[in-house]
Amino acid sequence: MDAIRTENLTKKYALGWRRGKLLALERLNLRVREGEVYGLLGPNGSGKSTTLKLILGLITRTEGNAWIFDVPCDKVESRLRVGFLPENPYFYRYLTGAETLEFYGRLCEMKGAALRRRIDELLELVGLAKARDRRLAGYSKGMLQRIGLAQALMHDPQLLLLDEPTAGVDPIGSRDIRDLILRLKAMGKTVLLCSHLLAQVQDVCDRIGVLNLGQMILEGHVNTLISDQRRLSFTVQDLPADGRARVEEAVRAAGGRVVAVEHPQTTLESLFLDALRKDRRGMGHHD
Amino acid sequence: MRTKILAALVVVGPALLLAPVERRIQAERKHLKYGGIPVTRQVREVIGQGTAMALLAGFRGVVADFLWIQSQTFWEKREWLRQYRNIELVTLLQPQSVLFWDVGQWHMAWNIAYGARTDPANRTEAAGIKREREWQERAREFLQRGIENIPHRYNLYFAMGWLYWQKFSKWQPEAYARAAEYFGRALAFPDAPLSIGRLYAHALEKAGRKRDAYAYWKMLWENKNQPHQAWNVVEREVKRLENELKIPENERVFLPSRP
């Protein structure tokens, strides 16, 4: 079953008196398979938010259809199996972390001991157990994103929609959130995420789709898309000084062309996180 | 846009159907004499737009209280006409308030009248007395209007009786008779204090109706359902009148005291 399926999904916004209509999304045919992590990319105004809102029933479609696990999106039942983390959420500043989760849990008709257990579980999962009794007004951006993830997971949905989940979060927090997403994938959940941070999308997503001006212009598996099939990269170790010339010669003899020879690079992010890990005082922020 | 029109209809439609209910509420309010006088344009001119708005918003009592407290400062500055104007205004705003009519007439007939009589600006004593009596007459007329507004409670009838007894008795021959009449009207109400009954009897006697006074005192004595009655006073009056009227022994309540 597809977690999300849209057919010719179209949205036109009326721009007010006699200013015509804005075509925010044009005939989108999207299929997100169960158990995959799908990245929805695109510049601002490309229709990403519109797509999410249409799927969640927050706005009504102009044409076409959308389903979540084969339930039409305009029915309230479709939201039983989806959890949503919006962009830049603030939540209720005056509730504590635990109270926030309790609120969302009750909205999903959870109660009593089951609710309390779930709250403890999720706070543990997102690493906020120590801050459970602090008001959200005192949370950092990273903590807000994490409590946001927790509320999205309250009713154990099969599908998660995440809008810019790591925006404004520091590298450690980002890494944690991405690890979380991978863990959710291992649990069999489906994730649709929108992000501008392309390096992070590359790390985590199985498939991506690129929207521009309301249309899907590119879609496919990440690895296939970003790998250059025409070229091969060998990573070699313990090669003596004169070995390099001999390898290059061998390639030329085989009919290939040496395009580049350089030392492989780690990522700046790995370097940063390793440095922090090695600092004996510990890793992390004053939480 | 269509939704907004629909919503507007949803609001206006049933509202039109509620019109009879609104009329019924307004009729009941009128019948129960709520809300005082309607805030017509004349009233708005007298008290100003801001105050008028406060009245309409339901702060009639507060506005009246402010005017009432202000009248007290006029009294302290001996600006009696201003004080009088405020008193009139207050009773215009809350004509159902016993308090304002009662205390208002008291100010006029007792305080202001006294102040007018003893005013050093008076050229002669006679002029002073004339002013005093004018204020007392003004008070009486004011209180009369009060009674017309609140005919269903004992308080203002009693106040009128007291006014006649205390003030008009000094210069009008009919005063005690009128006092008795008003005390009598006050007594028609079940919550009238017992002291009014005793005053009524006294007033009857002062008006020259000794027999009627005796009959009333006797009735009071025989009515044992009044635990708070001043029995010693009643007993004293019955005895006294029995002696003065030379009531025959077999009709007396108390046997005559032997010399």
């Binding site: 809102k53 969640l56 029933g57 927050l58 706005i59 309230v76 039942e77 939201r79 039983l80 989806v82 959890g83 949503f84 919006p86 959420p89 603030y90 939540f91 209720y92 500043r93 005056y94 509730l95 009750r106 909205l107 999903c108 008709e109 999205a152 929609l161 | 939704t3 907004k4 919503a7 609001v11 206006v12 509202a15 509620l18 209910v21 609104e22 309010r29 129960l32 004499k33 709520y34 809300g35 309607p38 708005m53 309409l56 918003a57 339901g58 702060f59 009639r60 009592g61 507060v62 407290i69 809350q94 159902q96 308030s97 016993v98 308090l99 205390v103 204090p193 002291s195 708070h228 001043a230």
Partner: protein
């Protein structure tokens, strides 16, 4: 195969309690401190007046303040509810759950009503406390001979002080104030479903407040203009809820009339909440 999600009063209650908690923690209650000051002040001055006058002042000023502060809490509290939810993005997270839009609107409204109710109760308790102290003081003064009332009249005077201080009819006045505030909150709710500017919401409600009180004079002015009268009919007759003044001066108010006015208010509220739901359920967020 998929379960049906029915209307849940539990969800409404959750939203209502959450709305209430947020408002309380936002120090809405600082306003109530000002009320306390007004109440105490009204009872502390004016010693040169008779006990009847003093009690009237306390009751008028306290009920007036209760009305004003209650309206502030009702209108401003409700006006910022939906704009705040949008700004904090909490609206998205709530509606992304299996929550019906009607449950949300109703929950928000009931949260507002809860806020008004608790505020009124607190102010009423403070008011009662002030009256109690005032009554004690007045009785003590009377017993000490300060009022010049003769001894045999004292029990009656004291009974009168007590009766005027603790007039149970004041409850009826407070009840109608509560319904009126609920009505104002419903107006604000309706406006906030299509406008996200808090200032606009408050302004429109205040206009309705003024119009609602001007129905009497306006009706006489516009008797020959049916369109204007029809528009006026949309605005509730707020003057009908002002009975506190009359109760304080001793005018009798039967429960039947209270019931009629309260019922009228409730019908108006239902209409307004229904209209709010209509707009909100079709709203694109």
């Amino acid at each position: 195969m998929t379960e049906r999600v029915g209307f849940s009063m539990g969800r409404v209650g959750t939203i209502a309690v959450n709305t209430f908690t947020e408002s309380v923690r936002q120090k809405v209650y600082n306003i109530l401190l000002i009320f306390a000051l007004v109440a105490i002040a009204s009872a502390s001055f004016f010693a040169q007046f008779s006990f009847s006058e003093q009690l009237k002042f306390v009751k008028d000023f306290c009920l007036g303040a209760l009305s004003v502060f209650g309206a502030l809490i009702a209108i401003v509290g409700t006006a910022q509810m939906l704009p705040a939810e949008l700004e904090n993005r909490t609206l998205y997270t709530i509606l992304a759950k299996p929550v019906r839009r009607f449950e949300f609107v109703l929950g928000k409204y009931l949260g507002s009503v809860l806020l008004i109710c608790v505020s009124l109760l607190i102010m009423a308790v403070m008011f009662g406390g002030v009256l109690w102290f005032k009554e004690h003081k007045l009785v003590a003064d009377a017993l000490a001979g300060a009022t010049g009332v003769p001894a045999d009249e004292l029990p009656q005077t004291i009974r009168q002080i007590r009766a005027e201080a603790f007039d149970s009819d004041l409850v009826k006045g407070a009840l109608l104030i509560f319904v009126k505030l609920g009505l104002l909150a419903a107006v604000t709710l309706l406006v906030s479903t299509f406008s996200t500017s808090m200032v606009f919401n408050v302004a429109v409600t205040l206009m309705v407040f003024v119009a609602g009180h001007l129905r009497g004079p306006a009706a006489e002015m516009w008797a020959h203009r049916p369109v204007a009268l029809a528009l006026l009919a949309a605005v509730p007759d707020l003057g009908a809820f002002n009975v506190a003044d009359d109760i304080i001066i001793g005018n009798v108010i039967p429960w039947r009339h209270v019931g009629l006015v309260a019922g009228y208010g409730l019908v108006r509220i239902v209409i307004l909440v229904w209209a709010a739901h209509l707009i909100f359920s079709r709203r694109e967020i």
